[in-house]
Amino acid sequence: MSEMWINMGPQHPMTHGLWNLRVKIDGEVIVDVDPELGYLHRGIEKISEDRHYNEVVTLMDRTCYVAGLAWEHLYIIASEKALHIEPPERAEYLRVMCEEFQRLGSHIMWFSAFVVDIGLLTPLLYGMRDRDLVLDLFQSYTGARMTYEYMRVGGVRNDLPPGFTDRARTVLDWLMARFDEYDKLTLGSDIFHKRCDNLGILKANDCIAHGVTGPMLRSAGVKRDLRKDRPYAAYDRVEFDVAGADSADVTGRYLVRMEEMRQSVRILRQVLDWLDRNPGPVMARELPRWLGAPYAPVGREGYLLKRNYPKGVGFSSIEEPHGEAQAYIVNEGGEHPYRVKLKSPVFSNISAARQYLVGYRVADIPPIMGSVDVCIGESDR
């Protein structure tokens, strides 16, 4: 039979974003794959060169719109290293709390979108309901549902409101019961197993060679988790296990993400207890005035100050909900970063599409790409 190229995207229910999957098919079988990105390329790295360090945080929220706080965390760690600023300990714990709540929100959003791809429409409503509870918590201390602008160079913007930790624990208890419910709705369904088992297999060697990270890598038996291997913020002070599976298929990725959510709840309970016991400042003292932090308001005088802050290079690498994200920030002494380079895990995970799609059938594309957890905002930047 003759082969042909078809476009799935940029407007296609499979994509969960704005990208184009060009597929070469022979009948029903996928012969070749050519993902096409860039439909959401917003030039974030370039605009960052024209903004103050704290103003770039606004862009980081929009870089990955399902994991805004994780990307804020990534950027803030790197820029603090570039500017030689140390955050207080409470701010580090608050950031870990933010990142883990964000992991919950991101994975539940993934769950909601993924189950629709395999034909289970009911869990979508359950997932969106529970994600809104996490967003309520964000809203109560950052003021926004998705774009938070919460972290600052040298700390975080504000402390938690009274009664937050108790409310958060209630939500965590609720969510832990819901995760079992999710498993019943998916693993208990024959549709799920028929569509997901032994599908989209990407073995550990291929994962590593093609730069695939995150739940996809951990589902292939490699327990690489930067929170454990290269601890940042307060992750060396909390206990958790690295989720893993060895089937390297769609079901394995599902199991890894569900286990990660349970581990996130475990981390969050420890962090909330710590926050209850240890009040303190959430911003570093003696920040340069032009940073515009809340304790150092930028005035006309600050604007006129001569800026000869020490130069530096900041590098950070965090375990974002989708995988290993990196930032490389060059500070040349000015009030703007000289260069902000961001590496997105989704970018690498999509680039390996040929490895896990070729050989399967066209109808297998939605579950496989759904299990990759695509967020185009961060892969295109």
Partner: protein
């Protein structure tokens, strides 16, 4: 704490033999802060259909013009079943999805997202439009049957938003297609999206063909 899934566990229940109470919610939904604000469902009132239908029948009897006959009925039906195009551009798409989730339930206004542009009469531009996607957006708009409307959701679609100065971003989707309703916010909350849809429904009601 469940066991680590290093070995794929046997499926919990292969054929949904779970007791029904296992899916029952324990306790109240832990909603933080205020509940969902009440949105007046003005568009769904069936009683405005009755005078319109009477008028249509009357005009049929009195043999008046075709516009008078079908105009009100068509407008009533059209505005109560807006079918937006199901696509996600950027951040606003997540709030777009949340509006169709359990808490806001946009489908009670008759809004059902469809994946084919040929079934749609409403394009919600939910995110940043880049020059690379611009011609595809115009193609999608042209594939939608008349009459059709466009909602620019969020600051990016309205005027470029935080990416206004970027080299790759269209500063406002109204440079490409005509826009009927603009919604402010970065991203707008689901309530704001619902309000924008209801505003569009008012516009359609006032429409004169």
């Amino acid at each position: 704490m469940s066991a680590s899934p290093s070995v794929r566990p046997a499926p919990v229940a292969r054929s949904m033999t779970l007791p029904p109470e296992s899916l029952r919610l324990e306790g109240e939904l832990p909603m933080a802060g205020a509940a969902v604000p009440f949105v007046e469902i003005e568009a769904l009132r069936a009683r405005e259909f009755i005078p319109a239908a009477k008028e249509a029948l009357g005009s049929l009897i009195s043999n008046r013009s075709r516009e008078t006959l079908i105009g009100p009925v068509f407008n009533w039906a059209g505005r109560n079943s807006l079918f937006p195009l199901h696509w996600g551009l950027a951040c606003c798409a997540i709030e777009f999805a949340a509006a169709f989730g359990a808490r806001w339930d946009a489908e009670r206004f008759g809004v059902v997202a469809r994946s084919s542009p040929r079934q749609c009469d409403l394009m919600i531009v939910n995110g940043t439009v880049t020059w690379k996607v611009a011609h595809k957006l115009i193609t999608l708009y042209e594939q939608m049957p008349e009459p059709k409307w466009v909602i620019a959701m969020g600051n990016c679609a309205t005027g470029g938003g935080p990416f206004r100065t970027a080299y790759s971003v269209v500063p406002g989707v109204d440079k490409l297609v005509p826009v009927d309703v603009y919604i402010a916010g970065c991203p707008p909350r689901p309530e704001a999206l619902l309000d924008g849809i209801l505003t569009l429904e008012k516009l359609i009601r006032e429409r004169k063909e």
